[in-house]
């Protein structure tokens, strides 16, 4: 098996998932709606004081992104599990970790990217300064793939279970905490007009770490779940 055909398999898998997603366009909107809705609940809950809103905005937007990512990641292997193609991946001659990475990439393009694009709007709604909105965008760009990669491990462990959803959040949310801390404090720091290179490098490091480990863990977890 040469690397050429592996690259092709990787790309074919992504294209297939993207086409499936385009066919079910309406479902793509759900995580975004959820993200916007949860964020707009906060001003209603804590009052519309601009100073207060700006102070909590980074944390609120990031917690909402965390929950949106958690809800959407549940479906990363769902349809493939139900129609049996997940088992075909495990039997294929390609390394499962690469196929898993393709699935996660496609899933991020479908659910993570829209969150990213809508985030400046939320920043404006909560009164973040322009510099902070830029940083918010970059943290989401670097951070949401980490959420997808970590979430995939949890989904792979719970894919066959009836009450997987509740357990998934218990498994995955604690592991999301470092991303939340670094990302929301980066936005905070930017709002105060300070440099954020250190924060962003830390999130990038998390991304690299997740990128290099999560596909293997996910593949191993799928093998266990489907055995």
């Amino acid at each position: 098996m040469n690397s050429d055909s592996l690259t092709r398999a990787f790309l074919i898998l992504i294209r297939r998932d993207l086409m499936l997603a385009v066919r079910h366009r309406a479902e793509m909107a759900n995580p975004i709606l959820f993200f916007v809705l949860v964020t707009s609940l906060f001003p209603l809950g804590i009052g519309a004081n601009p100073a207060l809103l700006q102070a909590v905005a980074p944390g609120v937007i990031w917690v909402a992104a965390l929950l949106a990512a958690l809800l959407s990641i549940e479906n990363v292997f769902r349809s493939d599990f139900e129609d049996g193609s997940l088992e075909q991946y495990l039997l294929s001659s390609h390394p499962v970790s690469v196929l898993v990475l393709a699935k996660i990439t496609a899933h991020w393009l479908i659910t993570g990217l829209p969150l990213l694009l809508i985030s400046p709007l939320l920043g404006i709604l909560l009164g973040l300064p322009v510099d902070a909105i830029k940083v918010l965008f970059i943290t989401l760009l670097l951070g949401t793939p980490v959420l997808s990669l970590i979430g995939a491990v949890g989904v792979a462990l719970t894919v066959g279970l009836r009450k997987g959803g509740m357990i998934l959040s218990l498994l995955v949310l604690p592991l999301y905490i470092p991303v939340l801390i670094f990302a929301s404090s980066a936005v905070d720091t930017a709002a105060a007009g300070l440099p954020v290179t250190a924060h962003l490098s830390l999130i990038a490091a998390l991304l690299l770490l997740a990128l290099s480990l999560s596909p293997f863990a996910t593949a191993a977890a799928l093998r266990v779940s489907l055995s």
Partner: protein, 246 residues
Amino acid sequence: MFNNFFHRMASPKHFYGLAGILIPWLAVPCLLLTLAGLYYGLVKAPPDYQQGDSYRIMFIHVPAAWMSLFIYIVMAGAGAIGLIWRIKLAEVVAISSAPIGASFTFLALITGSIWGKPMWGTWWVWDARLTSELILLFLYLGVIALNNAIDDKRTAARAVAILALVGVINIPIIHYSVEWWNTLHQGPTVTKFDKPSIHLSMLIPLLLMAVAFKLYYAFVVLMRARCEVLERERNSGWVKELAEKT
């Protein structure tokens, strides 16, 4: 011969018997060390010049916090051994460790909170150590929930092993991020848990309790592992024989 020894050790029947012999040999020293630790900690050690007698909570809080981390690492290590070499006994040890580790984490949290009340004036402060400990408790609860959700014992054990490994990679990252977060959002209170140096009269009971907790973990994990082995081997002859005798 060496190989043979391991093979016999790893056979469920042999393990069950050996663990049964080992448990009292661990439990009795554990009890003695605990009593000694309590004596030196509660009676012999003088009151702290700043915290008075309230610092004596440390003799439970600190060893429990050590154990909470130690057990998670043992759990992940045993899980890895089970996954890589397909040693069932390692899986059993990993899965039996989770509730004990969760108990110690809970103890560290609750004693930290009780200690915090006279020191900080409130039951809970988002101090870096307490927060890390809280997240560690969540990690343990995730492991336990996953184990309970999967019906097949072997599948459950392997899934738990993967989760524990992912968790153990994340623990240093979580710990570091929480410390970082804490220095950024430093409140008016400063942590009083860490002391630059500790007097010998306080160090002795601390170490006694730490060793006692390690022994406690050793014999309780064996007790739990025996139950797990019984359940897995319920259809084999020796378990039925054993059951008929009781």
